[in-house]
């Protein structure tokens, strides 16, 4: 019996020993808890880097979001008959369950959740200076605004679809909500744009009192005061807030921090990973092996290459335009048919070109449109011709006194200059234009404005 007692005692001792608690505490090795990550600056900034990383993910700028306004607007046609990317969008067949934009939708809100977590936990970051904290916050606000804005561009009708923008927008997430919380209806377009503007304003206020948080990478590959300003210019354009577009545009252009790429460097600038002189904000692709946006525009990529340029777009260029083929488009023969592929993102793998989020050419065109809309045609034509003549120094200045003609020319120029950068379809929607696709194999090539299809149907995510 004595031995029995000894054994029981020994067993009990083993269990209650202090080591037990330690034994039962196991650190996660692959992940880190939300509370832990914001304990220090080092952790907090990985979360911010995560926002950028996710922006450049396949589900966002590296594929889905960037391709959407191109396949829908008629800028591209497929060089393949199978495995076509965003085919549902091309055919305007997205529905709740099968929806090309579902992954974009999920990724967007995941990024928003990340920014909200950064904003909510900023005060628990111990070892960051207030300047660094301000930058973390400012970037989080800018990214939150950008993502809300992109969501609204895809899933809502244009801001001016109703006079007071009271039509449906998207769900705003400007703070953390419990993950099991039910989602009420979407907010109105106005509320969404107000939220975007308010975030960009917050960011603009914070940037001057902030300090760089990342040690690696070019400044232009992160959000900045100018990026926030440039995005505000774009948001104002979508709201027809012409004065604001002009003011912000003038501000950015006259700052002389950004310069248009010269005609001679134009094509080469898209080939390399170098930071463009006219970029205000671009997403760094860095060293990666996982593919790039260019994969879809590259005929030599047998798996993904398929986004050939439509004749609708090619026909907009004059032959001496640097952006026309053959200088900006590469010809390839697929299935005995000639196709032209843009050189904008021709680099693959390590030489993958950074995706331009916003650049100076757009600011010029935004301001040109704002001038024209506010009846200052001279100023409008001046800005327009800067872009036209950069592309074709030999071209004559475009001259017209008809407001509508000028605006249409500006829109055509936008398409020529900003094609494949995620604008064309949104410009149609914003300008209430009909969709006309002639070089088209879609089941639904044309739409008369207004049409419900100008807003992508929300995907069912569960």
């Amino acid at each position: 019996m004595k031995q029995l007692l000894h054994l029981i005692f020994a067993t009990a001792l083993l269990f209650t020993a202090g080591g037990c608690k330690k034994f039962l505490y196991q650190e996660p090795y692959n992940n880190i808890s939300i509370n832990d990550i914001f304990k220090d600056f080092e952790g907090a900034r990985t979360a911010l880097a995560g926002c950028y990383d996710d922006l450049k993910s396949n589900d966002y700028y590296m594929r889905t979001f960037s391709l959407y306004p191109e396949v829908t607007s008629g800028n591209i046609k497929y060089s393949k008959v199978s495995n076509q990317a965003l085919l549902l969008s091309y055919n305007f067949n997205n529905d709740a369950a099968t929806n090309d934009m579902k992954t974009f939708f999920i990724m967007s809100y995941s990024i928003i959740y990340n920014t909200n977590t950064i904003i909510a936990n900023i005060n628990s970051v111990k070892d960051a200076s207030s300047l660094q904290k301000n930058r973390l916050l400012a970037d989080a606000y800018t990214i939150r605004a950008l993502v809300h804005f992109d969501l609204a561009r895809v899933f809502a009708q244009g801001y001016n679809f109703t006079p007071d923008a009271s039509h449906a927008g998207i769900t705003i997430r400007n703070q953390l909500v419990p993950v099991l919380a039910p989602v009420s209806d979407v907010q109105t377009c106005k509320q969404v744009f107000d939220q975007v503007a308010s975030d960009l304003d917050s960011a603009t206020l914070l940037y001057p009192n902030s300090a760089r948080v990342f040690t690696l990478g070019d400044d232009k590959t992160y959000c900045s005061a100018d990026a926030a300003k440039a995005l505000q210019s774009r948001v104002a354009l979508y709201k027809n807030d012409w004065n604001k577009v002009i003011a912000l545009g003038t501000d950015l252009i006259s700052s002389n921090k950004y310069s248009l790429i010269s005609n001679s460097n134009y094509v080469a600038s898209w080939k390399q990973r170098n930071i463009s002189t006219e970029s205000i904000f671009e997403l760094a692709f860095g060293d990666r092996t996982g593919g790039s946006l260019g994969d879809y525009y590259n005929s030599s990529n047998t798996q993904f290459g398929q986004m050939a340029t439509s004749n609708d777009l090619l026909g907009l260029y004059t032959s001496d335009d640097v952006r026309a083929q053959p200088s900006m488009y590469v010809k390839a023969i697929v299935n005995a048919t000639d196709y032209y592929f843009t050189r904008k993102y021709q680099g693959m793998n390590d030489s993958a070109n950074n995706v331009k989020i916003i650049r100076l050419s757009e600011i010029y065109l935004n301001r040109a449109e704002a001038y024209a809309e506010s009846d200052n045609l001279t100023a409008a034509l001046a800005d327009l011709n800067v872009i036209r003549k950069r592309a074709n120094p030999a071209a004559l200045n475009f001259i017209s006194t008809d407001k509508a003609t000028v605006i249409n020319e500006i829109l055509d120029e936008r398409r020529r200059e900003l094609c494949f950068e995620g604008h064309t379809f949104f410009d149609l929607s914003r300008k209430k234009k009909n969709l006309v696709r002639t070089d088209c194999t879609s089941t639904q090539c044309n739409f008369i404005y207004p049409n419900t299809r100008y807003a992508c149907i929300f995907p069912l995510t569960n």
């Binding site: 196991q26 996660p28 996710d54 909200n116 997430r173 099991l180 989602v183």
Partner: protein, 1111 residues
């Protein structure tokens, strides 16, 4: 006693109580006294006697020492007796006397505690006998040539009886007449009785066949306590012995072999070699995940807990590892590390009384595997070899080249292409490449196993080794396995025993799996004119032949399972033991996509290497006390402490841009990347079990376990599970004790809880996961799992009522009724993406499995022609009782899954197909209101508008196993069946034309709608205008089937052939698997149905022949 009792009935409550207790006290004392008296006769008087050529006097002295008897005899009388050889244990005095006095000139008589030995009256006949006695010697063995000590040998029609000694030898002295015409009856518990004519032979070699019914009398109930007699067990346990397992079958792991062998145990077969198999014990005891596609969606494991010799087998599951591992790594079946030939028994614990001692891991049942150990005596060698081949059965019928061309062209025309254009796009119409035949084959099977065992009284050992080489019928898929196992049991001294097991195995597997992934278009050639592989440049899919030649998908792994155990007998009935065990698995997976074909072309070759190491250890230390109080109260009390830890280490390297395509090591890649992952989980537990046995008639078991585990991160969560079970052997009651044809009639009942802790690590915490790409070289992290602080333990409350009825020694019948209620079931539930995540783990509701298990084991025929049969059936019905917030949860419209109150968790949810509109060629559906609508009007993506179509799990399933013996032949036939389940096939091979341009399609598409008036179920072919209803009932099939899963014929060469090689035994056999299938819903002529669609990977029919030699 009665007198006291009646007197005590008064209306004075207080007085009554007082008196009642006094009466009870007296009653107990009296009862105890009675029992003591009784036991003086029945319990205390068993003796053991052994010795060679012992004089009778010595035998009597031995009995005297061990009992309370005294002997009276005349020494002169004893002098005329012969010395005897005897070896008996625990037998009554009468039995000993009966044996030793056979043929002696004396007889005995018991008078109280005195035994009188007196001279026999010698008859004239017996004088004759004794005048010329003949000594017949014999040797009794089992079928593995092991001597059977204690076998009783009786001369038929006489009281002449003897028992075999420890070498299995016996001697009988007979008259010449008896030696000529006498028949010996040899019997032993656990073996079939055998009669043998002496026929004047002086030496007899007798082999007894195991009696399967009786062998299961002793069963292993868990890995903590000693095996128990069946009658003592109150829980629900199914036992499968090595014979029943039929390890000779050409099946690569024992879990697949379990199909149909035990009531209520369903094996969801997989046709691919070496992949994990899902086993459902009494239905599925965890909620199904709503999505199968997202591998990061964890739910609690639905696998039972597997324990090999006390060491849990680490389950291969993906956890919270980075996507690099989740998406591409392929897992091996961890249970394939156990050689089926090494298994002695498998016990399947099904209810709470049996399994509660495993607490938080026992919700899905527990499977205890006990491996074989050596036996003392002559060293034995067994060698087995089998070899065979397999062919594919139930092949999916694909379109041939011209059919395919025709349909594709038609589809393009329907999609408004010009006929010219369509003809161009549809490709060649004069090519027909039989891809299936090109990538499949007749495959081979080879297996050799060797085991050596033996030892002496202090040390026994068993060493076994086995080599398996099995090809799948699909080229590029094969499986090789080398097993070793060593078990040594050693008695260090009288009190201290140790045993040690070590079982390393090596696995090598190739799994290119080319065809089932991409059924290639048939109207393209396989080779170019110059002999190179044809490339499908526009399809972006690889040529499967190129993959076979150029790519790599190979596993090379090893596992090690071992334990060491010490047991110390502190005193009689009290012992302490400790076990340290480990289970380790190491697997390296090499994947290479060659730059020469479409898989790796765009990357210049793509190599990935996954390195997985799982390691777990366990230590349990316990004390067992089994006192017998006052002779009738038998207790068996066990309590112990257990600690275990599991860790998973993963390492991945990948590279692209190979400088030279034939060098595919990562160092030759121009871009290289790597990833690693680690997970640790620890737990500590205290467990206890007490069994109580009253009068060998009433039984009770109480068991429980406290578990604390690290899986919930910071908050160490603990849980307690416990169960109680009771048993009553009814036929031992006086009322039934006279009915001799009833061997056992028993009623059992149990209730208790078990848990399920296997949900992956740290799931309750909100986590940030680190991305391997980073941004601009900066480390980046993103939210990876949503915080849900409210996540708690699942609890499975199980109740079980069972009746066992064994009769006329040949029939064992068991019926059990059970109800398992799972509370706080955990599953990932979809949440609004707007909240940042698409799903979160939550305790969402309550689920019930209710059913009946029936099993019947019978020796229908004994004697010359034997027939044993086993029939079992598991009926189960699953229903979700409650979903929190009353909301049903739906999977995506592609999944057909639902969690909804009132229906099963394995329900198939979708839309009711109502045929194809003869006018338009479009699909029609019956909507919720019962109205038939066009597919265009069906809100097919709002899955809530769907309805219950069927259930993925069967209502009843089981097996019917028969074995027949005649002379040296044995024949067995296994039939398994499953009724009432449905299967939702992948629609990609048979839908409305949308996949026609990418891949070959089922021949069923030939019946498509072509012109108004056509009556068919296949709509007009169109890639872009036909909406696809993923969960249409047209893709659902009735999976009711009966299958002859195995047929085997064996012949054992009779002893005569090997008379010179004493003890050698040779068996040759032939075996065939999957010989016959019957489906309730058979496929239409020349079309595909459930039979063809059921498995993606072709199913095999294997024929093997083999031989086994035992020396």
């Amino acid at each position: 006693m009665e007198l006291f009792f009646y007197e005590s009935i008064t209306f004075d409550q207080e007085r009554f109580k007082l008196k009642f207790f006094r009466v009870m006290k007296i009653t107990v004392v009296l009862l105890t006294f009675c029992c003591l008296q009784l036991s003086a006769k029945t319990f205390a008087q068993k003796v053991s006697v052994s010795g060679k050529d012992m004089p009778l006097e010595k035998v009597f002295n031995t009995i005297k020492e061990q009992s309370s008897y005294t002997f009276f005899y005349d020494y002169d009388v004893l002098r005329q007796s012969n010395p005897v050889s005897i070896d008996v244990k625990n037998v009554t005095v009468e039995e000993v006397l009966n044996i030793v006095l056979i043929g002696q000139p004396v007889l005995y008589k018991i008078e109280g505690s005195v035994i009188v030995i007196a001279r026999k009256e010698i008859t004239s006949k017996s004088t004759e006998k004794f005048s010329d006695p003949i000594i017949v010697k014999g040797h009794v063995t089992n079928e593995s040539n092991e001597p059977l000590a204690g076998a009783i040998v009786t001369l038929r029609g006489s009281s002449r009886v003897t028992a075999c000694n420890e070498n299995g030898d016996f001697e009988l002295t007979l008259t010449p007449d008896e030696a000529a015409r006498g028949v010996l009856i040899i019997s032993l518990v656990g073996y079939n009785k055998q009669e043998i004519r002496i026929n004047k032979r002086n030496i007899l070699n007798i082999e007894l066949d195991k009696n399967i019914q009786e062998l299961t009398d002793v069963i292993i109930t868990n890995s903590y306590s000693k095996p128990k007699r069946k009658e003592e067990v109150t829980g629900s346990i199914s036992t499968v012995t090595s014979e029943q397992l039929q390890a000779n079958r050409p099946i690569e792991s024992f879990d697949k072999m379990l199909e149909g062998l035990a009531a209520g145990v369903q094996v969801e077969q997989s046709t691919e070699l070496g992949t994990p198999v899902k086993i459902n014990i009494r239905g599925q005891n965890s909620i199904s995940p709503l999505s199968s596609s997202n591998v990061t969606q964890l739910t609690t494991s639905s696998q039972p807990l597997f324990i090999v010799d006390g060491v849990p087998v680490t389950e291969q599951r993906k956890g919270d590892e980075p996507l690099a591992f989740l998406n591409n790594e392929q897992l091996l079946n961890p249970l394939s590390g156990i050689n089926p030939d090494d298994i002695e028994t498998i016990s399947i614990l099904k209810d709470a009384a049996a399994a509660a001692i495993y607490g938080a891991n026992a919700s899905n049942g527990v499977v205890i595997i006990t491996t074989k150990k050596g036996k003392s005596g002559k060293t034995k060698l067994n060698v087995g070899y089998s070899n065979g081949w397999a062919q594919s059965i139930n092949k999916l019928k694909w379109l041939d080249g011209s059919q395919y061309h025709g349909l594709l062209k038609e589809m393009y025309i329907n999609d408004r292409r010009s006929p010219f254009n369509a003809e161009l796009l549809a490709g060649a119409n004069n090519i027909n490449t039989p891809w299936f035949e090109l990538v499949n084959r007749y495959s081979t099977f080879n297996n050799i196993d060797v085991d050596l065992s033996g030892g002496n009284d202090n040390t026994t050992f068993r060493l076994s080794g086995s080599y398996l080489n099995q090809q799948a019928i699909q080229k590029g898929n094969d499986y090789e396995k080398i097993y070793f196992r060593l078990r040594v049991d050693h008695k260090i001294n009288n009190r201290l025993n140790m045993s040690i097991t070590m079982a390393p195995t090596l696995t090598s597997k190739n799994a290119l799996n080319v065809y089932s992934n991409v059924p290639i278009i048939p109207n393209a050639p396989s080779y170019n004119a110059d002999g190179s592989f044809y490339k499908f440049s526009t399809l972006g899919v690889p040529n499967p032949l190129a993959i076979l030649a150029q790519n790599t998908n190979s596993h090379s792994g090893g596992s090690f399972n071992g334990n060491i155990r010490f047991e110390y007998n502190i005193r009689k009935n009290l012992r302490a033991s400790t076990t340290v065990g480990m289970d380790a698995l190491q697997n390296k997976l090499n994947l290479f996509d060659s730059p020469l074909n479409a898989t790796g072309e765009s990357k210049g070759g793509f190599a990935q290497i996954f390195d997985r190491t799982n390691f777990s250890w366990i230590n349990s230390s316990q004390i067992n006390w089994s006192p017998v109080l006052k002779k009738i109260h038998k207790f068996d009390l066990t309590t112990g402490f257990e600690a275990q830890a599991q860790s998973t280490r993963l390492l991945k390297g990948s590279g692209t841009g190979f400088t030279y395509y034939r060098l595919n090591e990562l160092s030759n890649a121009s871009n290289q990347s790597s990833a690693s992952s680690r997970q640790n989980a620890t737990s500590v537990s205290i467990y206890g079990q007490g069994t109580y046995n009253l009068l060998n008639k009433y039984f009770a078991t109480l068991s429980g376990r406290y578990d604390a585990a690290s899986i919930f991160g910071n908050d160490v969560n603990a849980t307690v599970n416990a169960a109680v079970g009771v048993g009553w052997i009814i036929n031992k009651e006086a009322l039934l004790s006279d009915i001799t044809w009833i061997d056992m009639l028993r009623l059992r009942a149990s209730y208790g809880s078990t848990g399920n802790s296997r949900i992956g690590s740290y799931q309750a915490r909100g986590l940030y996961g680190f991305n391997n790409t980073g941004y601009n070289g900066n480390t980046s992290s993103s939210p990876s799992s949503a915080p849900n602080a409210a996540l708690g333990w699942e609890k499975n409350n199980k109740s079980n009522i069972g009746i066992d009825f064994n009769f006329i020694k040949r029939f064992n019948f068991t019926i059990e009724f059970y109800t398992n209620i799972l509370n706080d079931a955990i599953t990932p539930i979809p949440v609004a993406a707007q909240n940042g995540f698409i799903n979160v783990l939550a305790n969402i509701g309550k689920m019930r499995n209710r059913g009946v298990d029936i099993s019947l084991n019978a020796q229908v025929l004994t004697g010359k022609f034997t027939w044993n049969t086993t029939l079992n059936a598991g009926f189960n019905k699953n229903v979700i009782l409650e979903i929190k917030n009353k909301n049903a949860l739906y999977g995506a419209s592609t999944e057909g899954t639902v969690l909804k109150e009132g229906i099963s968790t394995s329900a198939i949810w979708g839309f009711n197909f109502a045929g194809v509109d003869p006018a338009t060629g479009r699909e029609l559906y019956t909507d919720k209101t019962g109205k038939v609508v066009s597919v265009f009007d069906l809100d097919r993506n709002i899955i809530t508008g769907g309805s219950y179509l069927g259930d993925r799990l069967p209502a009843v399933q089981g097996g019917f196993i028969n074995s027949f013996g005649y002379k040296d032949f044995t024949f067995s036939i296994n039939t398994v069946y499953s009724f009432g389940s449905n299967i939702l096939i992948n629609n990609i091979n048979e839908n409305n034309g949308r996949n026609l341009s990418n891949r070959n399609q089922s021949v069923n598409l030939l019946d498509r709608w072509q012109k108004p008036g056509d009556i068919t179920n296949i709509p007009l072919l169109s890639a872009s205008t036909n909406p696809l209803v993923y969960t249409s009932s047209k893709y659902m099939y009735d999976n009711t089937y009966i299958k002859i899963s195995n047929v085997s014929l064996a012949y054992t060469f009779s002893k005569k052939t090997f008379r010179k090689l004493k003890g050698t035994r040779i068996t040759v056999y032939g075996n065939a698997t999957n010989l016959f299938y019957w489906y309730r819903q058979d496929s239409p002529n020349d079309r595909n149905g459930i039979r063809e669609y059921k498995f993606d990977f072709p199913e095999a029919q294997t024929f093997t022949t083999g031989a086994r030699i035992s020396i």
